[in-house]
């Protein structure tokens, strides 16, 4: 049964697609989640007068946005290959 399945299905390609989907899919969602959380905390810190923390958290938000833009760019790059 296993040799037959091995000969029919290209498990290597399928596995590659699944691994990439899990890693990138979860990664993108987590980065977006942290980006939103840091953005909201930055607003709260700014409201409380903690400008130093607000700037640092805004920096985290910017990094998250850049990471998401990089993910979009990478996706488009893969589409063109």
């Amino acid at each position: 049964m296993t040799p037959l399945a091995s000969s029919i299905v290209d498990w290597s390609s399928l596995g590659e697609a699944v691994y990439a989907s899990v890693a990138v899919g979860l990664g993108v969602l987590l980065v977006a989640g942290f980006g939103v959380a840091s953005s909201l905390r930055a607003e709260d810190e700014r409201g409380a007068g903690h400008d130093g923390s607000a700037v640092a958290l805004t920096g985290v938000t910017v990094l998250c946005v850049l990471a998401l833009l990089a993910a979009i760019g990478t996706g488009i790059y893969f589409l063109t290959q």
Binding site: S7, I8, V9, D10, S13, L14, E16, A17, V18, A20, S21, V22, V24, G25, L26, V28, L29, L30, A32, G33, F34, V36, A37, S39, L40, L68, I72, G75, I76, F78, L79, T80, Q81
Partner: protein, 387 residues
């Protein structure tokens, strides 16, 4: 001359299929974005149409996969391709009528298989190719997308739980638009190629272009397919958008973003390795998974079950319809009479369906959630959908 006329009919039917593919699958990219109110319905379908058009030009890897490995290339004639397309169009229209997000790709593949079975017998079917390139990805992809979306959305809600939910959810608006746009782009790349593959099959069978593993898709085929799928997408399959956006689960922005981002990732990864994946199944799986992952959300498993039943029926139903279409064509011999008769019957059927749709139309405003995160709640009279 007769062969050229038949090929012309095949190309026209293929572009008709591409159009149905567009409006059938608009929901994949934009249902969640419309449901939350992140984009107005008509703006969303316009963006999806544009990105589908652009996406069709990006890669041709899946077109090469569809053109080979499913059925024996030597057994394929233009009339076989024609029968397959008729079967796929009929199934696409039937599932659209009932608001079911089923796979246009599987309808197309099922149609080609059914027509080939009647024309050349079971020996012309490449079971290995069907299992490895169609069935296994069809089972794996919605499950993988659903699991990733469920876990991802659950983690996102854990991260933002210290904030007021409405305030945090609203931050996902533009991320949601971006992820939906990526799905639209990937859909154009993935699905327009399938029609390109089928038209290429007919052209190869007619001797119009050279076959083989390294065949080139003619530029006019690419342009026509891109235009057809974009026009279909712009038409907006509101029935299916309503089902996917409002009936499977109440979609909130993090869910919409999560499901579309995961779907885009799965589709891009599969395209990269050359799998002709069903965008519909991936998105439906991800949307359902996102409902499982959001605390307090309730998935309507009855609707989800009906969608899965539609998926199970897609391959055999499209194959059976295509087999009947091919048998009718075959009754008229090798001339153009058969394809013309079936084309006229199909056109008449489409006309009556269009008239019936006008009587029970689903308006774009009905595809917005009753409690949209962005913008006012829709005021149009709500008409019960088929699902």
């Amino acid at each position: 001359m007769t062969g050229d006329i038949i090929v012309a009919l095949v190309v026209a039917t293929a572009l008709g299929f591409d159009f149905t593919n567009g409006f059938h699958d608009t929901a994949n990219a934009m249902a969640t974005t419309i449901a939350t109110g992140a984009l107005k319905p008509k703006v969303a379908v316009a963006i999806a149409a544009l990105l589908n058009f652009v996406g069709a030009f990006i890669s041709l890897k899946v077109a090469a996969t569809v053109a080979g490995g499913i059925v024996d290339a030597d057994s394929i004639t233009p009339t076989v391709v024609f029968g397959g397309l008729v079967g796929a169009i009929c199934w696409n229209l039937a599932t659209w009528w009932f608001g079911l997000p089923s796979s246009s790709s599987h309808a197309l593949i099922g149609g080609v298989i059914g027509a080939t079975l009647v024309a050349a017998g079971g020996s012309a079917i490449e079971v290995k190719g069907i299992v490895s390139k169609v069935l296994v990805p069809a089972v794996v992809s919605p499950i993988v997308a659903g699991l990733i979306a469920a876990l991802g959305v659950f983690l996102v809600y854990r991260i933002i739980k210290r904030f007021v939910v409405d305030r945090a959810e609203r931050q996902f608006r533009w991320a949601q638009v971006a992820s939906s746009s990526m799905v639209a782009l990937a859909h154009g790349t993935n699905d327009a190629q399938k029609t390109m593959g089928v038209i290429s099959l007919a052209l190869i069978a007619n001797g119009s272009i050279k076959g083989g593993d390294d065949f080139d898709v003619p530029t006019w085929v690419i342009i026509c397919c891109a235009t057809a799928i974009a026009l279909g997408t712009y038409t907006g399959g509101w029935r299916i958008i309503k089902t996917l956006g409002t009936k499977v689960v109440e979609v909130r922005p993090p869910q919409g973003f999560g499901s579309e981002a995961v779907a885009a990732t799965v589709i891009l990864a599969s395209s990269h390795v050359g799998y002709p994946l069903s965008t519909t199944q991936v998105v439906s799986g991800a949307v359902t998974g996102s409902g499982v992952g959001r605390p307090g959300a309730a998935v309507n498993w009855a609707v989800a079950g009906r969608i899965v039943a539609g998926w199970l029926l897609t391959l055999p139903a499209a194959a059976a319809t295509a087999a009947v279409a091919y048998a009718i064509v075959d009754l008229f011999g090798n001339g153009v009479a058969g394809p013309i008769v079936v084309s006229i019957a199909l056109a008449i059927g489409c006309f009556f369906l269009w008239r019936a749709n006008r009587a029970t139309n689903v308006e774009p405003e009905e595809t917005v959630s009753e409690n949209p995160t962005f913008g006012p709640a829709p005021t149009a009279a709500r008409v019960p959908a088929a699902v």
